[in-house]
């Protein structure tokens, strides 16, 4: 679980590109040339969506993996940002929307989401472990019922629609290819931000709090402050993802932040793996593929296409039963087994 690396033997220059593992290059090139080899639908409805869901799950992974705080409120934080973009910016409901330009609306939306997430976190950290799940679930559900019942600010059941991604620098960011690169840039930024923070003094202290909160408190660390800061940081990621989400869908409604999607985020993070920031993205791409193509597969097997939830639920159950650290855990176990000598059972080098 620990992500603490050994200190490098010599001073490493950050521009020393030869130290970057080859996997990163391969993945990077594939992601960059993807628009050339795939259609608009795949780009928009699979990859962009998966990046956004991956970012929201990444914010959960950061809290759960490094802080042992399983928060179900991340989707709600993203939803708050999405709603705020629609309220501050433009939407079809011009009695509600302020009509501010995007460069005011979007940062403000992220700010509101961070404040909301931090406050939720401040509530949730008053308890520990299993209680955190219950309290964050309660917050998420309360927020869902609030936006569904409130018509003056959130336009109730139907939500706010026709929220468009802006046009700037001469590029229409609604078009699939620019939007894909936009989400890619933010997802990559979020990924490296999490990797960086997890190795920073703050991240190491957070992992210390995860492993033994009492000892960290005795060492003079402010445990509660670390936890709340972790919530604030993860809310930042979730908030940015929320802005992208409303630009992708063009609308936001209570269904966006219902309990179902909140739990889906948890499923994505757990199925992908909570041990490393790449896990949520793996889980997200798997989820999006399932979500998009499960219908065809189910129909091919002679079942009704609407049994998609059942498939997701059963798959989730199987993964949780057999590998509590998701796909990453399966991969690591496979690697360990492959490394072991088949005759003696001892580990081999390489």
């Amino acid at each position: 679980m620990a992500v603490i690396e050994e200190a490098a033997p010599r001073a490493v220059r950050w521009w020393d590109v030869s130290r970057i593992p080859v996997q990163y290059y391969v993945l990077g090139v594939i992601l960059l040339i993807l628009p050339a080899i795939s259609g608009d639908f795949v780009l928009r409805q699979i990859f962009s969506w998966a990046m956004i869901l991956g970012m929201i799950s990444l914010s959960l992974m950061f809290l759960a993996g490094y802080g042992n705080m399983v928060s179900l409120v991340q989707m709600t934080v993203a939803g708050v940002a999405a709603y705020m973009v629609a309220i501050f910016g433009t939407s079809a409901i011009d009695t509600i929307s302020f009509g501010w330009p995007w460069w005011v609306a979007a940062p403000l939306a992220v700010l509101v989401a961070v404040v909301f997430g931090t406050l939720s976190g401040a509530l949730a950290v008053r308890t520990e472990g299993i209680y955190t799940i219950m309290i964050t679930l309660a917050i998420a559900a309360a927020m869902f019922y609030l936006v569904r019942q409130n018509y003056t600010l959130f336009n109730g059941f139907s939500g706010l629609n026709q929220v468009r991604a802006p046009v700037f620098l001469g590029v229409d960011w609604r078009a699939p290819v620019p939007f894909y690169y936009l989400t890619l840039v933010w997802a990559v930024l979020a990924y490296f931000a999490v990797v960086y923070v997890s190795r920073s003094p703050f991240g190491l202290a957070l992992q210390g709090v995860r492993d033994n909160a009492r000892r960290m408190a005795a060492l003079g660390f402010n445990v509660t402050a670390h936890r709340i800061t972790a919530y604030a940081f993860s809310s930042l990621i979730a908030g940015i993802a929320g802005v992208l989400l409303v630009w992708l869908n063009g609308q936001v409604s209570p269904g966006t932040i219902a309990v179902g999607p909140a739990i889906d985020i948890l499923i994505i993070a757990v199925v992908g793996g909570l041990a490393h920031p790449i896990g949520p993205f793996l889980g997200a791409i798997l989820y999006v593929l399932l979500r998009t193509f499960a219908l065809d597969v189910l129909v091919a097997f002679g079942l009704g296409g609407e049994r998609f939830q059942l498939l997701i639920g059963l798959g989730f159950l199987v993964i949780v039963f057999f590998s509590s650290d998701g796909i990453l855990g399966l991969w690591r176990r496979y690697r360990e087994r492959a490394r072991r000598d088949p005759v003696t059972g001892e580990a081999r080098d390489g």
Partner: protein
Amino acid sequence: MVRFAERRPFWAAVIVLAVAVLLWAIFAPWPEALEDVVGRKKIFLNALFNGITLGALYFLVASGFTLIFGLMKNVNLAHGSLYMLGGYIGYEVADATGWWLLSFLVSFVVVGAIGVLLQLFVFARMEGQDLKQTLVTIGISIVIADIMLWIWGGDFYQILTPDWITGPIELPLITGISRRSGEYIYLTYPVVRLVILLAAIAIGIGMWLVLNRTRIGMLVRAGVDDRDMLSATGVRIQRVFILVFAFGAGLAGIAGVIGGTFQSMAPGEDIRFLLASLVVVIVGGMGSIPGAALGALLIGLAEQFGSVYAPTYAVVLTFLIMVLVLAFRPQGLIAVRR
């Protein structure tokens, strides 16, 4: 109570005053000036009674939840699904046989049996692994919800009440004075809700008696306090676990029948009642039955008064109660002694 009054005379006075005002508001006819400000007394009384009956329903759901949590320390997030399953089973039984009371029995037994299976095949295998249990119950609730959607579809179902409790009854509570004849107008209220309220109170008292006056209740209380020590004294604690889980699940099943009778069953109710039990248990104190009762009453009243007097913010009121409790008493209003 006397000691409380001696220690905190100010708060005792405030509480006595509040109770007096409440009693006056319930029993006395309201002057017109008050009705102009707050609204008609009939609305107030209806909200009050609806809140109490809703609280009774929440109590039934949440007490099973809190009992299971208190003893086994596992959060069963499939509890809402058990509630809804109970409602559907009750509907089928009542629809097929026409016996309303039979549906309670069948629901209790079937949902309780599912609880036994859950304990045997899921929770007993991953004891002490909080996160894993929670994730597994989330998975189970998704699967159950989808199977129920498969079988019963997205329609609304309502269990019909038998003739002997259908219709309204006049309660000896004054709602106002008739302008024409000058006589008092009394509150009329559906009988079925009063029956449900009485049943919930009876179940609550029964549960308290079993927990505090019988041998099995003693085992359960000992298990809540220290289950390792209890099993060290030779009690087969797994059997106690199965029993409590079956009872808690069965209670959710009964609550489902009740909820299906005076509200209705439709997809999404499972999450609503899971949320309600979560909030009730957080407010009341985890693992405490009196806490569940108090929390359920508070949340039921808050929801009803909120939906009458501030319709768009009813949920916020519920949530606000939870926030306040968490801020000032994180262990819940009535915490289990440790």
